[in-house]
């Protein structure tokens, strides 16, 4: 197990180094730079631009910039954000908890909801209820995140105003009691996480149902049935355990998609997470922040898949390398 972990860690580190080089290359391949003026015709005085460029090291040879970038990266220094004038790590550290909270809640809700719905469907496969749930899931996975977000916004903020429409906390947050503060945060989290969770639930439910139907024809299920175990019990106790494995893997693999969805959802609900920060950094051509955001995204995905692999190996001895 330890060697398995070491191999996966080395693999993850290699992936991050390549991802870092790629985002560096991408940003420097693009025409223009942060000081070449905005596309809308707003110009910067050439002399100022020259000084600022040398300040950020953008006038040095590309290879030298790359080596400096990787050297700083090795000690966790991502440079200074041009837009904020603060270290990139500090800007991202402010945004990260919001995104992790949003994604974590969404992942938890979609896993719980998806596994339950998928198992429930598999238990009554072929029935009308199964078909209705299946069709509904298919419709939901076809919905764009921003679309679903806007519909929820319309219903719960404008038509039946019971939830706040954006931000993380209320303006009066500081004057609230501790319990009130928690409730305030939960109310703000409700709609953005629900948007992502609905999509996630539908995806996982479809997968969970298929995984269960793959497990059901196997021998151990027949044995359980032959012993006289009730059909519901067979599904929820015997089959579900085995069918959970592919779902764990799927949840890990879906992290990049979830993070991408979070970008749109954060935009719709003005959630000050990484997605909003990245979108703003991109339009301001804030190179260090762009690279930092893409890199942090990659790190999150790598850590996510590492956790998935370890979980998978812990649950299923067959995938553990000898």
């Amino acid at each position: 197990m330890r060697r398995f972990l070491a191999r996966r860690l080395a693999h993850g580190a290699a992936v991050i180094v390549i991802a870092a080089s790629l985002s560096f290359a991408l940003v420097h391949l693009a025409p223009g730079d942060p000081f070449s003026g905005s596309p809308d015709g707003f110009a910067i005085d050439p002399e100022t631009a020259r000084i600022r460029r040398s300040e950020y090291g953008l006038d040095r040879p590309l290879l030298q910039q790359y080596l400096a970038f990787m050297g700083h990266l090795a000690v966790g220094d991502l440079g200074r954000s041009i837009r904020h004038g603060r270290p990139v790590s500090a800007v991202l550290a402010d945004a990260l908890p919001h995104t992790v909270l949003l994604m974590g809640t969404a992942l938890l809700l979609s896993f719980a909801g998806g596994v339950t719905l998928g198992a429930w469907q598999a238990a009554r496969r072929g029935s009308r209820a199964d078909r209705v749930a299946g069709t509904t899931s298919l419709v939901v996975v076809s919905l764009p995140e921003f679309w679903l977000g806007l519909v929820l916004l319309l219903v719960f903020v404008y038509k039946v105003p019971i939830l706040p429409g954006g931000g993380v906390v209320d303006l009066m947050h500081d004057s609230l009691s501790p319990a009130g503060k928690l409730l305030d945060r939960a109310r703000h989290l409700a709609l953005p996480s629900l948007t992502l969770a609905l999509l996630g639930t539908a995806t996982i439910a479809r997968y969970q149902r298929a995984a269960l139907l793959d497990v059901l024809p196997q021998d151990f299920v027949r044995t359980a049935r032959a012993k006289g175990v009730a059909e519901r019990w067979v599904i929820y106790r015997h089959a579900l355990r085995n069918a959970l494995l592919p779902t764990i893997v799927l949840a890990g693999l879906s992290l990049p998609t979830l993070l991408g969805g979070a970008v749109f959802v954060e935009q719709v609900f003005s959630w000050p997470g990484m997605g909003s920060e990245a979108a703003a950094a991109f339009s301001a051509r804030d190179y260090p922040l762009v690279v930092g955001a893409a890199l942090l995204g990659a790190v999150m995905v790598v850590i996510g898949s590492l956790i998935t692999d370890v979980l998978h190996a812990a649950v299923d001895p067959r995938v553990r390398p000898r």
């Binding site: 693999h11 290699a14 992936v15 991050i16 390549i18 991802a19 790629l22 985002s23 991408l26 940003v27 693009a30 025409p31 223009g32 596309p39 298919l138 419709v139 996975v141 076809s142 919905l143 764009p144 995140e145 921003f146 679309w147 806007l150 319309l154 404008y158 995806t203 479809r206 997968y207 298929a210 793959d214 799927l250 693999l253 990049p256 998609t257 993070l259 991408g260 969805g261 970008v263 749109f264 935009q267 990245a278 979108a279 991109f282 339009s283 051509r285 762009v290 955001a293 893409a294 995204g297 990659a298 995905v301 790598v302 898949s305």
Partner: protein
Amino acid sequence: MTTVRLDQLEVREGVAIGSSSPWQTALRALARDRSALVGAIVIAIIAMVAIVTPLVFPDDYCIAQPDIIGLKNIPPSFTHPLGTDKFSRDVLARLICGARVSLSIAFLSVLVAATVGTVYGAIAGYLGGIADSLLMRLVDALLAIPRVLLLIAVATLWNRLEITGLILLLGLTGWFGVSRLVRTLVASARHDEFVAAARALGASDLRILGQHILPRVVSPVLVAATLGIGNVIVIEAGLTYLGMGVQPPRASWGSIFYDGVEYFPSVWWVCVFAGAALVVTVLAVNLVADGLREALDARQLPPR
């Protein structure tokens, strides 16, 4: 007596055994699966409308503003079946033009993605060894950067992308998954006996790959590509919604939707119809993909 080269003989035999092509199998399966058939018909209708209508109406009909004040935000009526938007443009006309833009972006970019992914994956899988590991580590890294972040980065760094640029962008960020799939299939087929047989008969690497291995890859790639089309329609709409995709005044379903958001609750028809076009099309594509997956038994693919 005519001499017959052995590898040609072998190929002819292969054709005789697998007499129905993956396309035929797919079509037959679609015809059997009722929901997939409905999906296919819906896509066909939308595609037909998108292709035929511009031949009847002038091309710029969807950006025409006949009366910028008098016709602003009027609800659905006989003259404007789906109403007009805040720039007094006919919503139906724009949806039809948008269908052309959204669908061609989706189809062409998936074509790019499937082609690049198949070639890359086939090379990695066939070479094996260190080359395979290196190529696949690169794909791992590319897959680790969330696609939407990557798209936003490129779309903004190269500001104001033309449609061709958008197609390439979506295609070149969409092939990673396909290449992994193809690589796995090719790597496992490489050790099969029929490949050894072909090689013993003197077939070249290119011939083995093209004639013997790649045909087995077609159906899973077909399923992945169909799923990819639905996905790209959604992503393009999202990017356009963020202002990074199709640029105004050109219509795509994303931009029509975005134009409607400002006046949404009172001027409901713009968003509702654009959203409906988007959702119905993606749903139809996903129904077809589901049907194909079942029919071709490409269960190794995750749903969606």
